[in-house]
Symmetry: C7
Subunit: 96 residues, 7 copies
């Protein structure tokens, strides 16, 4: 099964960020305590047909790691895999 995001949207898979599993005080949190937090980073797995900004070129491609606002997008589940569908307006930056 494959996802085709529409218009100016991208589909993102959450990136496991091992370094975030410690609290500020250095305590390692078990999986159950953190797994409901939506991460701010993800890897693009599919892109829509209109992802270029007005007056510019497409700035992301499949495989890129992107940063987005904590509350942006809609989570969906396809074949037991979780994805985030994001408008490009909510993608802040690419990280290389």
């Amino acid at each position: 099964m494959s996802i085709k995001p529409l218009n100016n949207r991208v589909a993102v898979k959450f990136v496991e960020d091992k370094g975030e599993e410690k609290t500020k005080g250095g305590i390692v949190l078990p999986d159950t305590a953190t797994k409901d937090e939506k991460p701010q980073q993800g890897e693009i797995v599919a892109v829509g047909q209109n992802i270029a900004p007005e007056g510019g070129e497409a700035e992301v491609a499949v495989g890129d790691t992107v940063v987005f606002d904590k509350y942006a997008g809609t989570k969906i589940e396809v074949d037991s895999e979780e994805y985030l569908i994001l408008s490009m307006d909510d993608v802040l930056a690419v990280i290389n």
Copy 2:
């Protein structure tokens, strides 16, 4: 009787998603407990005349399975069948 959605709207029939009938803990829920939940997936049964996004081509067609936001659209009942009328702005992705 047939439905003709207007402008940039599509009519969607809810897809029965058998896999969702279990809770996270594995308990099988009877029909009555889940039937008021609006599913996030549906099959397109009719499309309006303006479904193509600005600066792009039509991205969906009758028969496609689409994903949409939980609270998008308006439920209507025609001949005892329930449909969701959705603006294409609220259709997030196509699943193949």
Copy 3:
């Protein structure tokens, strides 16, 4: 007396929907209990001069049965007849 809706509006007469007078449990409700519910369907009795959507053709005509959102439009009374004045933006679909 006649109504001429302005700009992109239509005037709709509520369609009596006999099948709705039963509750889900099958109890037949007397008239007084349901008559304040605004129905979701109506018949177009007059149209304004700008009902075609941008980049498209007029999609409704006098006599069509249309579906609209429960809270859309403004109810008016002319010669003791009740009408709903609706912007075409709030008309979701035509039913044939």
Copy 4:
């Protein structure tokens, strides 16, 4: 003294609607009980220079009876006469 509404506005005088002075139960209400209710109908007494909708022709003229939303417009008093200044966006229909 005369009123010249600006831009896309019209000035409306409230029409006395004798038939509305009865309650639904048929009781005739004295003047004092109804006079604070803003009526939904009025007669156009003056029009601004831009009353035609975008992509259309002017749809109202001085003398027309129009229907408008209960809470639209601003009431003003000139020479002890009360007028309603309405944007054409809030005029729903003409009644002949």
Copy 5:
């Protein structure tokens, strides 16, 4: 000292409306009871460079008496004189 309103704004001086100093019951109110009420009428004392509406001609000039919404504009004080700076969008009508 002079005021030059910017863009589509006008400067208005409040017009003393003697007739408003009586209550509906005919009681004459002392100055202190009414002076905090912002009047709905004023005389234009200066106009900005862009007061004509889109697709139309300038509809007001210095010296005109205009009607505006009770809560529109910003009150300013220059040389102990009070003025209201109003966007033309908030000027409803001219009274002659």
Copy 6:
């Protein structure tokens, strides 16, 4: 150190308005009681590149005294001097 406001913004220095230090009842307020009140007038000390309104010419220049809404703009501190950065949309009038 200098400030260069961006786009359609101006930088304003607050003007000390001696006459405002008295209350309406004529009581002179000590500095501490009034210094948190943001004045409505200021002198322009720098302008951005896009201060002209759409369809018009630049209406202010460095040195002009301008009036603005009490809650407009963002206060910043540079070299212990306080400035207000204002969008031209929030500048109401020039006072000469």
Copy 7:
């Protein structure tokens, strides 16, 4: 690792403003008391492809010190370094 802000956004590193570590009363605050306050100034470390305002030229470049509203932008962490991703709409001025 590098950050590439998208569209009209810039990435900013917070500038340590030693002078702010004292309270108004002159008390020096320890690090822990102030470190959650988001500063209003920062240095641009990367820019997007569309940072020029409509009808103007790009007004900032990497290395510039900019002022922005206290609540603007989204904080992100890359390689244990904290950045603020800001739309150019929220950058108020450049300080030289």
